[in-house]
């Protein structure tokens, strides 16, 4: 309720000062749209990061979170792309949803209507199995799948999730066929693999490390360009000879057309925030896989991922 009131206040303020010069950005509170529920992973990460961005924006800058959950993030992304591009509305953008939703269905936003500000988190995808499966790397997995066609079932958090897309990409790269079992949340996938109901879990590496440390799961590989420092012993897919890079990014975006002063101020503040040792300690507690990219690099990354998703969609549409 408070948040909404603040939001209304922000709107009123923005109407009054729309003509003001941007020289002293930010002059008034910034709204950050989070396209997921309060208390969820993205929301918690956003609220952890905000004090640090505020600190480095300086001048008593304030950022208020506005949760606009629903439709896999589409409601929030749409709200962000339709906001006034004045630098006072920014939002968290998450891949692959940000990119896969417009491929799957007609949407009112697209990558062109957004301006990437900075990437903050890259959480690589990973495959994991129970120790009693006696499989420790991807080569053994592929061999097993070829010997036992149709027996490798894998659980994901749903159709079109990064976990699902990752497995599709791997199937293509390795020339094998798995059986996809979608679940409705991470906890369900975890329970299903630990309970032996599915053979393998396709979950982000940050969500698997805890079970791997306890010896309940074996991580076969992570789908990053280089190993995440939270799981330094897990080899990447590329190291094992499979060119699969997939994961979920959580970065900051703004409506396209945001003034350059605001964009550069935000990017600089976020870079310093992510480097802040206090924030890094808080992020470590939440198993956040930090990976800063500035505006340009983030845009290039998003366009590359978009390209590969479009190719994948053409060959193997994941929604029929």
């Amino acid at each position: 309720m408070k948040k909404s009131l603040k939001f209304i206040g922000t709107l009123t303020l923005s109407a009054m000062t729309a003509t003001a010069a941007l020289a002293d950005y930010p002059e008034r509170p910034i709204t950050m749209i989070v396209a997921y529920s309060a208390g969820g992973g993205t929301d918690v990460a956003a609220r952890t990061l905000i004090p640090f961005i505020e600190k480095y924006l300086g001048d008593g800058a304030t950022i208020t979170v506005l949760n606009r959950p629903g439709a896999g993030g589409e409601i929030g992304f749409t709200a962000l792309s339709q906001a006034k591009p004045d630098g006072y509305t920014i939002g968290f953008i998450n891949t692959p949803n940000l990119l896969s939703i417009p491929i799957q269905r007609q949407t009112r936003y697209s990558l062109e209507t957004l301006e990437p500000v900075a990437n903050i988190i890259y959480d690589p995808g990973a495959f994991s199995v129970r120790p009693d499966a006696n499989i420790t790397n991807l080569e053994e997995l592929v061999a097993y799948a070829k010997e036992h066609p149709g027996e490798v079932t894998y659980g994901t958090t749903g159709i079109g999730s990064d976990d699902h897309l990752a497995a599709l990409a791997f199937e293509r790269a390795a020339g094998v066929q798995f059986e996809h079992i979608p679940f409705s949340g991470n906890a369900d996938v975890r329970a299903a693999v630990l309970g032996g109901h599915v053979f393998m879990a396709s979950m982000n590496v940050s969500e698997t490390v805890q079970d791997a440390e306890n010896g309940d799961l074996v991580i076969l590989g992570q789908m990053a360009e280089k190993r995440w420092d939270g799981a330094p012993d897990v080899p990447t897919f590329q190291e094992q000879g499979y060119d699969v890079i997939m994961g979920s990014d959580r970065g900051i975006g703004a409506p396209a057309g945001i003034p350059d002063e605001a964009l550069s101020a935000l990017t600089a503040a976020i870079e310093k925030a992510v480097a802040d040792p206090e924030f890094r300690a808080a992020a470590k507690k939440q198993d956040l896989a930090l990976s800063f990219q500035d505006s340009k690099a983030f845009r290039a990354h998003l366009e590359a991922v978009n390209q590969s998703l479009e190719t994948l969609w053409k060959e193997q549409p994941w929604v029929k």
Binding site: K2, K3, S4, S37, G70, A71, R105, I159, I181
Partner: protein, 509 residues
């Protein structure tokens, strides 16, 4: 034991000032809401959930525990004083409670009701604390096939037990099943019944539905000036009289057991627990003729049983995600609002919160006694509040509250729309609870059915492989056959019916 370690670990959080304040507030609100005819625990919780949004989960849950327990006792105040049950669970309280009041023993009747309610709640909370954790461990072993049978069991019990008029209960359940289908199909990604509406893609939020169905209809009634209480006879009569409390101990034991048992069975609620306990107590008594004529035992039994039902209902809800009745469904909704997904994982990932919540169920049963003891007269005065004041308050709270959950005005309209539907259903005597349970159980049954078939690659015998599945199948069969069984029993009883007068009362509910 591990359970006691978890309980001890959660204790400091429960005893923090904010949680205690929330429990006191919740209990006061609960007793008041229960005392007001037409307002139920379900409604009270549904209205307050969105407002708890900004609180920490345990504070919110402590308040909810207070409302839940408090409302079950509150319902007995007008039942005793005015012969109007404040909540459906207060029906059986009228039988002997109001008689006692007429005989000028209202003070004693309120005291018996309060003590019995507190004891019932406490017993139930202890059962919850002891039974839920081991059940959660078993629930971890549930595979998709088991979940399918579980959801089907829940659906079966609704259809068989919930309504006097099976056609209406069935209609309501089908309404819920259809609502449950709205949104993106999680197994194929296909959009269903979304009409191209962005706001419908993630489905209909259970809180929106519950608030609409349970908070709006009473608000409309209040605005229309219904539920007006004739306050003329509203007084607590009676002197302090000596009463042999120890004589009630066997009543409490028997009624608590009945309440616990009823709470564990999906689709049965506090009203059934109360009726069963009253009937059971009468049958057991040496002088059944006194029942319905102001017998203290006949008041203690239903009041104890309807409170013993409260925490027990939460056992399947917290461990398996299967709500037994509408209140449990609202509490599941409350957990979801706070990002807590009911199920076995809850006990592992959020042990402190879930054990804390179970402890608040226990503590609020004690608080209820203290607050009820000192505030009895104040709660009697709640009945004098003009209904036209309450209606707008409820409407304002629900509107603001639902908006706050997802910052979505679309959901506010949807909630108000469900409110009108709920009002219509109430006027047509169609029960709303089957709809609410079906919204939760329908998608659960469908998803786990399809997931199981995916896992077994279309092999239907997969549904019959696990022992858990077999237990559930047997339960489903027993439930399906139970109407037949009761018919046979009642056919036998019909011969003796002439002897037992007053039986009609129990059936009427």
């Amino acid at each position: 034991m591990e359970v006691f370690d978890s309980i001890l670990a959660a204790l400091p959080a429960v005893l923090s000032p904010s949680v205690i304040a929330a429990m006191v507030f919740g209990t006061i609100v609960g007793i008041a809401v229960g005392a007001l005819p037409g307002l139920s625990a379900t409604m009270g919780i549904a209205v307050l959930i969105p407002l708890t949004f900004a609180m920490s989960p345990l504070v919110a849950l402590g308040m909810i525990a207070g409302i839940y327990n408090g409302a079950m006792y509150g319902g007995s105040i007008p039942a005793i004083l005015l012969r109007i049950p404040g909540t459906p669970a207060g029906i059986a309280t009228v039988f002997d409670g109001h008689e006692m009041a007429r005989q000028g023993r209202a003070r004693l009747a309120l005291n018996i009701s309060l003590v019995s309610s507190s004891i019932g709640s406490a017993v139930s909370a202890v059962a919850l604390l002891l039974l839920a954790p081991p059940l959660a461990t078993i629930a971890l072993k549930f595979g998709p096939a088991d979940y399918f049978w579980l959801a089907l069991f829940g659906l079966t019990t609704i259809s068989v037990l919930l309504s006097k008029n099976p056609a209406k209960g069935f209609l309501s359940a089908c309404f819920g099943l259809v609502l449950g289908m709205v949104g993106i199909d999680s197994l194929t990604g296909t959009e269903r019944f979304t009409f191209g509406q962005l706001d419908l893609l993630s489905g209909i939020d259970i809180i929106v539905l519950l608030t609409g169905l349970y908070a709006i209809p009473p608000a409309i009634d209040l605005l229309l000036g219904r539920n007006v209480v004739k306050t003329g006879s509203l007084s607590v009569t009676g002197e302090k009289e000596a009463f042999a409390w120890s004589s009630l101990v066997p009543v409490w034991i028997r009624s608590s057991a009945i309440g616990l048992f009823v709470g564990l069975i999906p689709a049965l609620g506090g009203n059934i627990a109360a009726l069963l306990a009253w009937n059971g107590q009468r049958r057991f008594s040496k002088n059944p003729k006194n029942y319905g004529n102001g017998e203290p035992d006949g008041l203690a039994a239903p009041e104890c049983a309807n409170n013993a039902d409260t925490a027990a209902t939460l056992i399947p809800a917290l461990t398996l995600g299967v709500p037994g009745n509408a209140v449990a469904a609202v509490i599941l909704g409350a957990l979801l609002v706070h990002g807590l997904r009911p199920g076995p994982e809850l006990f592992r990932d959020n042990a402190e919160t879930v054990f804390g919540f179970m402890l608040t169920m226990l503590f609020t049963s004690g608080l209820m006694f203290v607050i009820g003891r000192f505030g009895a007269r104040a709660f009697v005065n709640v009945l004098r509040v003009p209904p036209r004041l309450l209606g707008p308050m409820i409407l304002a709270l629900t509107t603001v509250g639902i908006y706050a959950v997802h910052n979505s005005i679309f959901e506010v309209w949807m909630m108000l729309g469900f409110g009108l539907i709920g009002y219509g259903m109430e006027k047509l005597d169609i029960p709303t609870a089957p709809a609410v349970l079906a919204v939760i159980l329908g998608p659960m049954a469908e998803e786990s059915f399809r997931r199981a078939l995916l896992l077994s690659r279309g092999d239907a015998t997969y549904f019959l492989t696990s022992p858990i599945s077999w237990v559930l199948i047997v339960l489903i069969l027993v439930t399906l056959l139970s109407p037949l069984w009761t018919r046979i029993l009642s056919a036998g009883k019909a011969k003796n019916a002439a002897k037992t007068a007053g039986q009609g009362r129990a059936d009427a509910a």
